[in-house]
Structure formats: C-alpha cells, structure tokens
Symmetry: C2
Amino acid sequence: MEKSNETFEVTYHISANSLSDAESVSEKIGVEQSVEMPLSALPGSAKKSLPETLLVSQIDDDRWKIVLSFPLQLVEGDANQFLNVLYGNISLYKGIKIVDISNSILENLFNGPSFGIEGIRNMAGIKKRPLSCTALKPVGLSPHELAERAYQFAMGGIDIIKDDHGLANQSSAGFKERVISCAEAIKRAKDKTGKRTLFFPNITTSAKDIFHNFELAIEAGADGVLVSPQLSGLSVLWDLAARAECPVMAHPAFSGAYVSSQNSGFTLDVFYGKLWRSMGADAIIYPNAGGRFPFSEDECLSLHKTCISDLCEFLQSFPVPAGGIQLSSIKKWIEFYGTETLFLVGGSLYTQKKGIKSAAEQFQKILVDYE
Amino acid sequence: MEKSNETFEVTYHISANSLSDAESVSEKIGVEQSVEMPLSALPGSAKKSLPETLLVSQIDDDRWKIVLSFPLQLVEGDANQFLNVLYGNISLYKGIKIVDISNSILENLFNGPSFGIEGIRNMAGIKKRPLSCTALKPVGLSPHELAERAYQFAMGGIDIIKDDHGLANQSSAGFKERVISCAEAIKRAKDKTGKRTLFFPNITTSAKDIFHNFELAIEAGADGVLVSPQLSGLSVLWDLAARAECPVMAHPAFSGAYVSSQNSGFTLDVFYGKLWRSMGADAIIYPNAGGRFPFSEDECLSLHKTCISDLCEFLQSFPVPAGGIQLSSIKKWIEFYGTETLFLVGGSLYTQKKGIKSAAEQFQKILVDYE
C-alpha cells in the first residue's frame, strides 16, 4: 500500500449509503484533516496539502473501506501533528473508524520500544516461556502493607510486579515511600530465593511531574515503570522510551473511548498495537476477551499479533492481556496466544484460599512447563 | 448533591435492564474505579477506598441514572489521578456516560481560567458585544502568504486571529518564522487602523516541547495561544493556565472520542465545559450545531451555559462555537447564545467574493450592533 516516501496512507471504515456518498465522505475526511476549508477558496500553492483518495470499496450494506494518501509535509517530524492529521477533527464525526496506518509514517516519526520482549526477558532471565505479572493493590493500604504483598508475590516467584494503576500519591501510601518499601521487599525476597522479580511502579501523573516520578522510581530500585499514556499525554510515552533507561509498561486507562465503539475510533490493534508499539511501549496491557471488558477474541488476537509481528524493524512489545484473567484459565490463554505473552493476573491471585504466595507459586508452576 | 469535603460525586447514565442490574453496574463501576479487586478479598484497611452509591433511578426503558460518592483520598491533589478515577478503566466499558461531576472536586484540584472572558474583553477593548475570531489557513502556504492573510483580516477589524490547528512546524511555514511574520503583520494593521486584533498562534506539540513553543510565541508578540489539550496532554492545559502569561484557547482536536457517542463517554458540557473550564481554558472551541459536526442545539447550548455560569468561583471561559458557521447565520446564533460568545468563522470568510478584508468587515458590522 506504500505509495512513496513523500506520502503516508490511512485506511478507514466509514458509514455511507452509496458509492458517491462514500466518495463524498472520503473527500470530507481529506479536507477536514488537511486544509480544513472549502476547496473553492483553496489557493493554488496549498493544493499540495490535500490528500488523495486511493481506494473506495464496499464492505457491507452501509459500511465502506477507504484509503487516503496524505502528503508527508502535513506532519514533518511532529508526532503530535501526525495524531492531529490522523484523528484530530474527525474524532468529532460519527461513523469513521481507523483500521490501518502505513508503516512508512510510523518509521518516520517513532523508534519503537527500547527494550522490547527480548530486553524484558533478559532482565527477568527467562528465555522461552510466557511471563507472569501481577498488580499490587488495593489503594488504601499503607506502604508497609503493600510491601508485604510484594514480598509474598516475589517469594512465590512472580516474574513482574506492577503497581495497580490507581496507586498514585495518596496519603495512605505516598509515591516515594511506597516505591522504596516495595522495591526493598522484592529485593529481600530475591536474596532469599535467588529468583529475580522485576518491579514496575506506577509513575503516572501530569506531563510536567512524571519525569520526577520516573527518576525517584529508578533511584528506589525500580526495574521498569508503569504509565497510562492517555492520562499523562501520549508524547510522554515516546519521551520515556527515548531515555531508554528501563522498560515502559503502558496501561490503557482513559483510552477506552478510542477503541470501544463499533463504528468509530480505532481498532484495538491499530491503537494499542501499531501506535503504542511504535511510540515505544515495551509492554502493552490490554483488556482481554472473556474478562470484565467487552472485546472479542479476534480483536485481542489481532492486537497480540501486531505487538509481536514485523513492524518497521521495531523491537517487539510484550502483549499483556489483563482485566479478569483467572488462574484456572491460563493454560487456555497460552494455547490461544502462544508463549510470547506476559499474563497479568490480579484479582484471581488475591482470592486464592491459601494466600498470595501460594497463588503465585501455582501461577509459576503453570508457566514453567513452557520453558 | 455535595456530601462532605471528604468525598466527591460523579453522576452517570448507564445501560441496565432492571433495578438490580443497575445496582450491580453501579457496584462494578465503584470497584473498577477504586480498589479494582474482588470484594471478597478486600482487606479491612482498604474498605475506606470504596465509593458509595447515592442514587439509582430509572430514566428510560434501558437507561438509568446513578450517582457514586468517591472518597477524596483516592485522588488527593493529583488531577491526573482524578481523571483516572473518573474514567480510567470504565472508558473500556460500553454504555457508561458521565453526565455530571460535583463542583467540590473541581474546586479542590483546579483553578479555572487565568484571564477568562473579562480578561480577553479587556485585551481586545470590547465591552459587551460578541467577539469575532477567524482561523489562519490553509496549511501549505508560506509565512509570507499567511501573514498577508492575517494582515487583511486585521485590516477588516477581526477581534481575534487564531492559527488553524493544523499549522504546526511544517517546512512550508516553520513555527517560529510563521508566528513572527503573522504577529508583525497584525501589528502593522493596528498601526494603520488603531483597532487591536489579538493573535493566538497554535503551539500544540509534545508535552516536552510545548513550553518552548509557548515562549517563542510570547516573544514574537502573540497575545494568546491555541492548544489542543488532548494532543499535548490534558495536564498541559492547567500548566499553561498556571503561568497566567496570556489567555489559552483550547481546541477539541483528538478529543471527539470522549463526547461523540450517544451512550458512553461524557456529555459535551461536562467534558468541554466543566472539565476544560476548570482546567484553565480561557476560551473553548466547540463543534457547533448545524455545521459540519453532529451535535444538537441543546447539547451546544448546555455547554455554552456551563462556560459562563457560576462554577466554583472560576472565571468564565469564552464559549467559541465553530465548525461551519456561516457569516449569513451569525445573527441567528447571537440570538441563540447571547452576547457572551466568541464566534469562530473560517471557511465562510474565505469564500466571500470580495475577499477576506471585506468579509471581515461584514463580520464586524454584524457584531457592533450588539455593543
């Protein structure tokens, strides 16, 4: 689909009643996302800013696939301006869904993950098998109580412990004290078991303060960080990736509006897979099918594939299915996704009768069969 | 609806089939947005983190209104964490729409606009009448061509000229050169006419670089700035407002996913009105009814009211209806909204046969009747 280095392509599914209606929607999108003015008043010297329709084809009674080719000069080195051309004003329309983006523009603007699957595997010392991850929670516990949970999980052998994305800087457990306590507890467990557990605290806050949190986390001994890019600002993701100091795990909080509508927004794999991987997420948490969130197995599998398949020579992002995975169904999901998967199991570990250390041991026991 | 200073309330419309179903959705939202774990495993010391359902009431066959009261301690001073509690994980659900937020939490976290309607009126020297605004475009023109357009608009008496939100740092008109040229052209017009036209260039870029753009803009003589908060990161909005150096006009690019679904996301007035005004937008551009975007007159009027009515003793934000307003319909919209309105007319001015200076004069002629 690549046309030349001077353009990039976006593929949409749109609502339309006929070929001419679909062509008209395509032209509207093109104008709205570039010159944003009536073509009758467009000066000749700005005609080069207009995208070109490459394809209009019917999918269904009232849905059409269209492909627009945009001049690269609309964007030129500014990833935020690319997001604007991609979905700025048309985010306010109904019935437009972005289903693909040409790799050329992702390659042009982004560098992908700095650690990726291989980097995280190396840090954790795990070659082939799927990895385990759990979430420290709930909000309201003291740093001591959270650290005790981290210790139990680490003693049970969990590969990665991340903070719940709702742990911020609450007075029940201030950011710095909490991160220091938990990192120390996890290190203490490692000294006993010899098994390394990685710690990814949640650093999400305003774009201005997040790098301060990042530095505190690294200083306290964090191995990676958790961030909700749609809360802190998407550019924070590529700025963190550019530092390349530790892996970044991305959380979908506040981003669901972009992917949860049938006929508008983005497909799950374009938004979290193509975009977030390109922007530098080393691990990508997503709402798994069959849990608390309304996404299908097909959507999730397609996203998983986009995280690990060839894309612009970017490193692979670890796909992290989450949101209600039961310990009892892990085997099923390994068969479904394969071993390049980082399973995030929270609630199901907390509800095991023999406690969380034993729950973590059960989790690991399932995974080691795949090494 | 305020319960105490220790809690804040959020009102939702949700999909449910019965009272017990609605109660169950309410509990799910409460758990998802706070402790995010099965209640059976919740330790006693974290029970204080759970929100409480204050109301469950039927609106329609399958839609219900619910009100949840959240402990303030979930948020404590971190506005990003407030956005997370408000709409973090439930952004991934279907059928949940946020229709109100209690003022107490907005007051607690935000300071509102630093200039507001009064500040912008003072700068423009206009007491009572509605204000005019237009957009410099299209992308692809040179700084000289854009500056010539700015000059013509200013000679015609436009009150505020903002950049098109698609003008970034393209090689056709690099940011710095473009802003300097346009600011200079507008000043030149003022020297001739004596009438002040305010210039709001678009500074939108990554969270890391936007303050650099901001400083360049101020240095070049900008009177205010245009920013797309959902592209740069919402926190950029309150950080810019906190500097209080010039008014900030907020543009809805990339934010439509939050407001364009009938049954999920936010109402137009809660998102742009309550949130963006609280976060510090001095002027709020929104997609007007009857233009290119699919919002109703009721939705737009309700948003307009939220911008100018009493809210936490915040200054008023100038409501800026846009997106296809015709010069010929300005009078109708003044009757509809009243005079506390900043009308953004772009395309319709560019298509007037006698040129843009004459179009601007026509625009002003309509408005001066309301002084």
